[in-house]
Amino acid sequence: MSVRQLWEGSDAASWTQKLTGHTKLIILFSFAVLTITIDNPRSLFILFTTTLLLHVLAKTSLYKWRALAVLLLLSLWGSMFSQALFFAQTPRTPLFVLISPEMQFLGPLTGGLYVYREGILYGAVQGLRSASMMSLGLLVCWTSDPRQLLQALMHWNLPPQTAFMLVTAIRFLPVLAAETGEVITALQLRSDSQNGRSSVIRHLPYIAKPLLARCLRRAQTLALSVISRGFFSASARSLSGKWPGKEKLFCGCLILLTICIVVSKIMYLVSEQGLYIGALRQIYDITKLYL
């Protein structure tokens, strides 16, 4: 499995590929808002499992599942690890002492560093937020061509010049990667030591100049080419990418739901500060129990 294969969406279920970029971006953004709005661990877990369910429905291939699993586990681990160290609620139970408060220099500086049991759990729950976004983000990438998403952005008034810049950046990503590899090879070839011939890290500081110089030369040629092809006369216009009515309706409902959840959460928080409206009691209850 190559990195390129991993990033291409050709093996995804056809319905996900047919879904327009508009819909995908709205789903993505709604989920992003929901993950930071919702506090209830169960609801967060449901959001997370929903993204996984979407992967199942999109027929994400096995090797992509593997990649997803690794990335999700690493992400959750990251959250658990950091919260295990920095958990600041009580009660908290230290499992290990990493830096004793008595240790010279680091001890007084950090005030001691412990791995807290409660922090691990807390980190796992809070990590569901970033894990949900990672899972859904990858789903969108694996099921869409960047152009599809770009069309949606242009539909929503992204200036064509900015769109052009984005397309250029995407188009030249693999070229730049290859050139970076080429510069590293050059550095290896010009190295005077046996180690330098195989090392990559030691050459990294010298990559910038040849790579950026190449970019400038390329920019020169490409600029000449696109100006004569009317780069600056381009005006924002709706592209051919259509947004089917059914998808529009679905997105409308999703946005409405997201807004409702955010508003109910805000109302609930406001009620706690004293602005309690009796008629909204059921909403307060739902918010308290599920959000």
Partner: protein, 545 residues
């Protein structure tokens, strides 16, 4: 169609005018080849015609440019873009979109054409350049030749009246050049598009153009029939080089001092037969033989990860000191893979490679490897630093001597990446040679270089060979191979199909044709003259009295 009248242009950052009193006229449907040294002002002239001198430039422009009856001297590039299309040297640098369709449609989308019309026009244009089947393909999936065609299509879609091509074939192999030029001629004949091509590889293109303009120091010094240019250039060369790569037949005429200087082989043959006597047998000069084995490959096999078939199934050969070996063959024959193995960038799956009898892995610092993109090998802030880069053994005196040899003394403190293309190549080659490698590997070193630069490179390589170096050069350039190579190895599908003295291989038309290489002009000429097979001008001259 186009009339450039008394055109002057000075860049804001310069005192002198880059274009000085340029006058040029192109008739509708005419094909004109514009040649000249790097930095003579060709690119500035193209920019002026395309209206691109305004982009970030605030220079001084005088004179007028009339296109199709309209004064476009100060018109916007977008407006001019509808009339003039420009294709640049590297297709990779002028294609920005992700798919073939998007690239071709870009110009029409920007001009607000309706979607339906864009679709029709794009299909039609792709059909004209032979890419209709690749409409929805990613640009990354196209070959070099297809990309150049796509670059052409992205311009043709606006149906320009004048097509400007800036060194479009400089990076192509001979087969690719022929294919592209045939397409261009077809477009010119069928659609009546006027063509202005800039290229210094006149030796490969003269047959497609009836008219040539030569530029020097911002002025057009010659504008006339192709067949008459050679005599003119011969005279001019006495003053200053024009950088034009002439056909070998022209060089032969000049070398033999014939009454006329011609490019056409048959006419040159007739002229030689008329004016000179031929010797059927001459004493062959002793070619300096390789003194000792330098590199040895034994049963080397290499298979890329994920591939079933090996790219190099079983290779065994040796390279010798005091020898230049040219590696030739089709694209994909395994030439670059072999160079990477010799350069130590990859390791063979099977077999053994030794340098000076020791395993290559332990001798990597004794190898110099000049890759195809020399720009990406420039790493330092000045030319002298570049020569000394990771080279503690280079003394100050040696560095000065190298700078002189490379004709770069006055640029010693300059930023290498800011030098001209030829100079940049020389800096990298110099940095390689400064390390005094036992084996020098070169991958297509002459791509896009003008005649003068080519000569300088050849001189450096021959000098290195004389000092006992072993050079392994991968090239499509038969003329270069015939000029400097002692030995040629032809690779086909990872196997050596020919390995012999350069002359033996380059005089074998069957091998050359089967390997996608062009037949050296001197070979056919020598056959026509009835003298033993020759590949260089010097060899033919030796038989002519």
């Amino acid at each position: 169609m186009l009339k450039v009248h008394n055109l002057f242009y000075r860049y804001q950052s310069r005192k002198a005018f880059t274009l000085q009193d340029v006058n040029l006229t192109i008739k509708p449907g005419e094909m004109l080849l514009l040649a000249g040294r790097s930095g003579c002002g060709k690119s500035t002239l193209i920019k002026a015609i395309s209206g691109l001198l305004g982009d970030g430039e605030q220079g001084e422009l005088k004179g007028s440019i009339i296109l199709d009856g309209e004064d476009i001297t100060l018109a916007s590039p977008e407006h001019i873009g509808m009339l003039v299309g420009t294709v640049y040297q590297s297709p990779d640098d002028q294609l920005f979109a992700m798919t073939v369709y998007d690239e071709v449609a870009f110009a029409l989308e920007n001009r607000g054409f309706p979607d339906a019309e864009i679709k029709v026009q794009v299909r039609e244009t792709l059909q004209r350049v032979g890419l209709e089947a690749l409409e929805h393909n990613s640009i990354h999936q196209l070959s070099g030749g297809q990309r150049q065609r796509l670059a052409l299509a992205s311009i043709l879609v606006t149906k320009p009246k004048l097509l400007i091509l800036d060194e479009p074939v400089s990076q192509m192999n001979p087969a690719g050049v022929k294919e592209f030029m045939d397409l261009l001629v077809q477009l010119n004949q069928e659609a009546g598009i006027a063509v202005l091509m800039i290229e210094h590889r006149v030796n490969e293109l003269y047959q497609y153009f009836s008219r040539l303009a030569v530029m020097r120091q911002g002025t057009i010094i010659y504008d006339g029939a192709m067949e008459k240019v050679w005599s003119f250039l011969a005279k001019m060369e006495q003053e200053e080089a024009t950088g034009i790569r002439e056909p070998q037949t022209v060089k032969l005429c000049k070398q033999l001092g014939l009454s006329e200087i011609l490019a056409d082989k048959e006419k040159v043959v007739d002229l030689i037969l008329q004016e000179r006597n031929l010797e059927s047998l001459i004493e062959e000069k002793l070619i300096s033989k390789a003194t000792s084995e330098q590199v040895k490959l034994e049963n080397v096999q290499y298979t890329y990860a994920g591939m079933k078939e090996p790219t190099l199934p079983d290779l065994s050969f040796s390279l010798f000191t005091h020898q230049i070996t040219a590696l030739m063959g089709f694209n994909g024959a395994g030439k670059s893979t072999l160079l990477n193995l010799l350069g130590g960038l990859t390791k063979p799956n099977k077999g053994k490679i030794t340098l000076g009898g020791i395993d290559l892995k332990q001798q990597l610092n004794k190898i110099g490897y000049l890759r195809q993109e020399p720009d990406l090998m420039l790493l330092a802030d000045s030319v002298e630093e570049e020569l000394s880069w990771k080279n503690p053994g280079l003394s100050a005196e040696e560095r000065i001597s190298f700078l002189e040899k490379l004709h770069l003394t006055e640029y010693a403190k300059d930023f290498p990446l800011a030098l001209s293309k030829g100079q940049r190549l020389r800096v990298v080659l110099g940095a390689m040679l400064a390390k005094k490698p036992q084996l020098l590997l070169l991958d297509e070193p002459t791509t896009g270089q003008d005649e003068e630069c080519l000569k300088e490179i050849q001189g450096l390589l021959l000098d290195y060979k004389r000092q006992g170096g072993s050079i392994f050069i991968c090239t499509h350039d038969v003329e270069l191979a015939s000029n400097i190579a002692d030995r040629v190895i032809v690779l086909q599908q990872g196997k050596i199909v020919a390995d012999a003295e350069a002359k033996n291989i380059l005089t074998n038309a069957a091998i050359l044709n089967s390997s996608g290489l062009s037949v050296p002009p001197m070979l056919t000429l020598s056959e026509a003259l009835g003298i033993p097979k020759c590949i260089t001008v010097e060899e033919v001259s030796a038989y002519v009295r």
